[in-house]
Every structure is written in structure tokens, then in C-alpha cells.
């Protein structure tokens, strides 16, 4: 038997009895950041492949999501800071060792690019809105900016490919860099969050697309990503099993512990396996309403982030 207790009394807000330093805004941001990174990645990729006419939603229409998602995500991040007035200190230094510093700088670059990308297509996608916004026509400055972004789409796309991959991986690395939280401390979290982000992005594109060609294409892409994600989750669980005691204990929160239903029910089964099967049926030409798997994937994605952030903070080193 081994029992340890505080005899000096210790009940620090948000620290005891278990850590609750990161709240829902962080989970929400991890979801929105991954989603935005994924959509921008597909937009840039299909643009560079010259398929913007074939897949207009992926390249043009869905690009309305990243600027909104990133703005909301950034607000959520700042909302969860406790020393908000000093937020600018993030941009006073570059800390190579700190994933959060990397993330802050990448966001500072990706967010404006996401606005530029949307801006370069708004005339095409929203002709009615454009007609209403005649006032802005008088601003020569905006016209020249628009011309600039339209002319330089190729370079924006080339920049977006690596930047969005870093952003997608960063949402996972942010957690996995903490070895004090055994549930987070595994190297597979980066690729897993990236894959999940790309998968939710494909789902969002399916929801917005109007042509069956685009729906089927992104159904197939999503199916591939779901398969990879399932494989990565299996590896993650195997990694915990083979890990030290603290990781085995951490894993028990997901396997048999209080997060089992959320993780295996909502993330693995309803968020990956069921939509995977539905999308597979769609590939074999069965009639499947494709919005169902798409919505399931999006819900699974957001639940996954909440589970990982909440459960991770319950895990710790016992000494």
C-alpha cells in the first residue's frame, strides 16, 4: 500500500485536485485550427494541381471557413490566457524549443494568407455581394490589393502547403511536448491531429459541395484519411500499453476509464468507423446521403479534441 496526502493543506484553484488549466477554448481552437489548416491545404493543393474548375468548393467556396475559424480560434486562445494584456509578448521573441511559440508565429502568417485567399475569390463566389459592395470600389487601395492577391495566388498556394501542414501538426505537438502529462506525451499525436484536421476539412468540403463529382472525390479522400487515423489511434494505444506505468495508467482513462464512451463511442465508432463504412458504401455506388458521414466526422473531430485536452490534464507523474 502506498498513500500520499497533503498535510499542509493545498487546494490551489485549477491545480488541485487535478489540473484544469486549459479549458474548452483550447479544445475548440485545436478543432478549428485543424479544420482551417485542412481546408487551406486542400484549396492550395487543388489550385496548384490546376483543378480549381473541377473542384470549385475545395478551392474557392470552402475558403470562407478558414478566416472565420482562425479568427474565432485565436479569440478563444486569447480568452483562455490569464494575463491577456501581455499577449503581445508572444511576438517579442522566437522560442525554437516552445511549440506554442512556433504556433503563434505560424498563425500570424497563415491567418492573413487565409483572408487574402478568400478575398481573391470573393468576386467569383459571391457576385451578389460584390454588386452590393460598390462603395468599396472607390477605394483604389482595395482594388490594388485584390489585383495583387489574384495575380499571386500561385505563390500564396505554394506558401500555404508547408504552413498548413505545420499548423495541423502543431495542434498535436502542442500537447505531445508535455512529458508531465503522460496521455499527451506520445509522438503520434502530431500526425494524428494533422490527419484528423484534414479529415474534418474533407468533411466540411463535402457538406458545402454541390456536384456529385466533388462529393465523391472528397468522400474517397476522407475514407483514406479515416483509415490512416484509425491506424494511428491503434498505434497510439499500443504505444501506451508498451509505455511506462504512468502511460499505462493514462491510457486506462480511454480504455475502461471515464472517457471510454466518449473516446470509443463518439470518436472511434461514430466519428471514424461508421462514417468510414458509409463512405466505403458510397465508393461502391450504394446510395448514401453523404452529409451523414461528413457531419459524423466533424462531430467526432471536435469530441476527440475535448477528450484529449480534458483527459490529458487528469494524467500525471505519481511519486
Amino acid at each position: 500500500m502506498e498513500e500520499e496526502l497533503f498535510i499542509s493543506g493545498r487546494n490551489i484553484p485549477n491545480i488541485d485536485p487535478s489540473l484544469q488549466v486549459w479549458h474548452w477554448p483550447i479544445s475548440l481552437y485545436l478543432f478549428l485550427g485543424g479544420l482551417a489548416a485542412g481546408i487551406l491545404f486542400f484549396a492550395a493543393l487543388f489550385y496548384l494541381l490546376g483543378k480549381d474548375k473541377e473542384y470549385p468548393v475545395a478551392v474557392k467556396v470552402a475558403s470562407i471557413i478558414p478566416p472565420i475559424a482562425l479568427s474565432v480560434g485565436l479569440l478563444a486562445l486569447v480568452y483562455d490566457l490569464t494575463h491577456k494584456l501581455y499577449t503581445w509578448q508572444l511576438y517579442m521573441t522566437v522560442r525554437i524549443e516552445s511549440p506554442m511559440s512556433w504556433g503563434a508565429w505560424v498563425l500570424l502568417i497563415v491567418t492573413p494568407i487565409s483572408f487574402m485567399w478568400t478575398f481573391s475569390y470573393y468576386r467569383e463566389v459571391y457576385p451578389k455581394l460584390e454588386a452590393k459592395l460598390q462603395v468599396f470600389k472607390r477605394l483604389k487601395f482595395l482594388n490594388s490589393v485584390e489585383k495583387f492577391v489574384i495575380d499571386n495566388r500561385k505563390y500564396l498556394a505554394i506558401a500555404l502547403i508547408p504552413l498548413t501542414l505545420v499548423l495541423g501538426v502543431y495542434t498535436g505537438i502542442l500537447l505531445s511536448a508535455f512529458n508531465a502529462r503522460p496521455l499527451w506525451n506520445n509522438a503520434i499525436l502530431g500526425p494524428l491531429f494533422l490527419t484528423s484536421g484534414l479529415s474534418t476539412a474533407a468533411a466540411a468540403i463535402i457538406l458545402l459541395s454541390k456536384t456529385s463529382k466533388e462529393k465523391h472525390m472528397f468522400g474517397k479522400i476522407d475514407l483514406a484519411l479515416i483509415t490512416i487515423e484509425l491506424a494511428l489511434i491503434v498505434h497510439m494505444i499500443m504505444g501506451y500499453y508498451a509505455g511506462p506505468e504512468v502511460q499505462v495508467e493514462a491510457m486506462q482513462l480511454l480504455v475502461g476509464g471515464e472517457f471510454t464512451v466518449m473516446f470509443f463511442g463518439f470518436v472511434v465508432l461514430l466519428g471514424l468507423i461508421v462514417p468510414g463504412i458509409l463512405e466505403l458504401l458510397d465508393v461502391f455506388k450504394y446510395k448514401v446521403p453523404v452529409f451523414v458521414p461528413a457531419i459524423l466526422v466533424l462531430i467526432g473531430g471536435i469530441v476527440f479534441r475535448f477528450v484529449m485536452v480534458e483527459a490529458g490534464q487528469l494524467t500525471r507523474y505519481l511519486y
Binding site: 497533503f6 490551489i12 484553484p13 485549477n14 491545480i15 483562455d80 490566457l81 494575463h83
Partner: protein
């Protein structure tokens, strides 16, 4: 810092001294005392430990800090510069000892080994008040210092060495 678990009686004087010296807000603490019991009745073993920030050589809080507010000063003490701290909580998440907390004013706060007292040549508040003199403070890099000598002659351990942080608070057992 070296703490003799065999001398500690768990009076919590170190905790109160720290709170008073450092104006720690009510409900918070930079150090705390734990009691761990191991074994099976009747052969039980009780250990009392005064715990705090371990001022690690490989401090994860300093590594993950996005602004550089968490830093190691000359001599190895880990400090937080309040007006560089954005309160993101990354350092709290990264600390295997849960030694940091969010100050009600927003920034992250923790044990400083009473850096302001050390500069005046005084001992940390917790060390100076300990009624059983179970705490020792000194330079671990100096082989002739009291703390180095204690570590040479006595059995000792650190907390969660498997976390790889290279902690600098040693417990004599």
C-alpha cells in the same frame, strides 16, 4: 536544496513562512508538505516531505514557455518575469510536480528559492524558519558546500527522476 525527510515533522512552518515572505495570495502556496505512508500494517513506513519547485536543470517549463518569461538565472534558479508572462498555462501543464499556479493577477507564479533574500546573503524563508533544521540550502556545484557533503554521506532521492527534468531538490532518506 537538500531536505532531510528523517528530521521533518510536517509542521508546515515552511509553508506559512513562504506565504508571509512572498505575499502569496490566500488559498495558494508555493511549497507544501506531503505525508506518504507505505507498507502493510503493522510494518508501515511514514515519510514527510516539504515540496516545492525543483528548479530543474532540464526545466520543461522553461523549454515550453512561448515568451521566455520562464527562465533560468545564473546559479540555476528558475524564475518567471511577470510582465513577460501571458498566462497561457503551458508551464503549468509541463511541470510534473505541479509546482506552478496562476496568480490571481493573471501571471504564473512559483517558488523563487527566495531569490530576493539570497541576493542579500540570507537563506530562503522556508529554510530559515524550519524548527527541526531539516532543510539545507547551498551550492550543489561546490563540492565542499554543506549540501554537497550531505549528498556524499547520506542516501538520497529526487522526485520523479524518470520525468527527465534533473531536479535540484534532494531528499535525504
Amino acid at each position: 536544496m537538500v531536505i532531510d525527510t528523517l528530521k521533518c515533522v510536517g509542521c508546515s512552518d515552511c509553508v506559512v513562512a513562504c506565504q508571509t515572505e512572498n505575499d502569496v495570495p490566500i488559498g495558494y502556496c508555493r511549497d507544501w508538505v506531503t505525508e506518504s505512508v507505505s507498507g502493510t500494517y503493522p510494518s508501515l513506513d511514514l515519510e514527510l516531505k516539504s515540496e516545492r519547485c525543483n528548479h530543474c536543470d532540464n526545466a520543461p517549463c522553461v523549454r515550453c514557455c512561448p515568451t521566455g518569461a520562464s527562465h533560468i538565472v545564473e546559479g540555476g534558479i528558475v524564475l518567471v518575469t511577470a510582465n513577460e508572462c501571458i498566462g497561457c498555462g503551458a508551464c503549468i501543464e509541463s511541470c510534473p510536480y505541479d509546482a506552478r499556479y496562476q496568480h490571481p493577477d493573471g501571471y504564473i507564479d512559483k517558488c523563487t528559492f527566495c531569490h530576493h533574500r539570497l541576493k542579500k546573503g540570507q537563506l530562503p524563508a522556508c529554510v530559515s524558519v524550519c524548527p527541526t533544521k531539516c532543510m539545507y540550502f547551498g551550492d550543489l556545484d561546490d563540492p565542499n558546500s554543506e549540501v554537497s557533503q550531505l549528498l556524499k554521506s547520506r542516501k538520497h532521492k529526487t522526485l520523479a527522476p524518470e520525468a527527465g527534468t534533473k531536479p535540484n531538490v534532494y531528499y535525504l532518506t
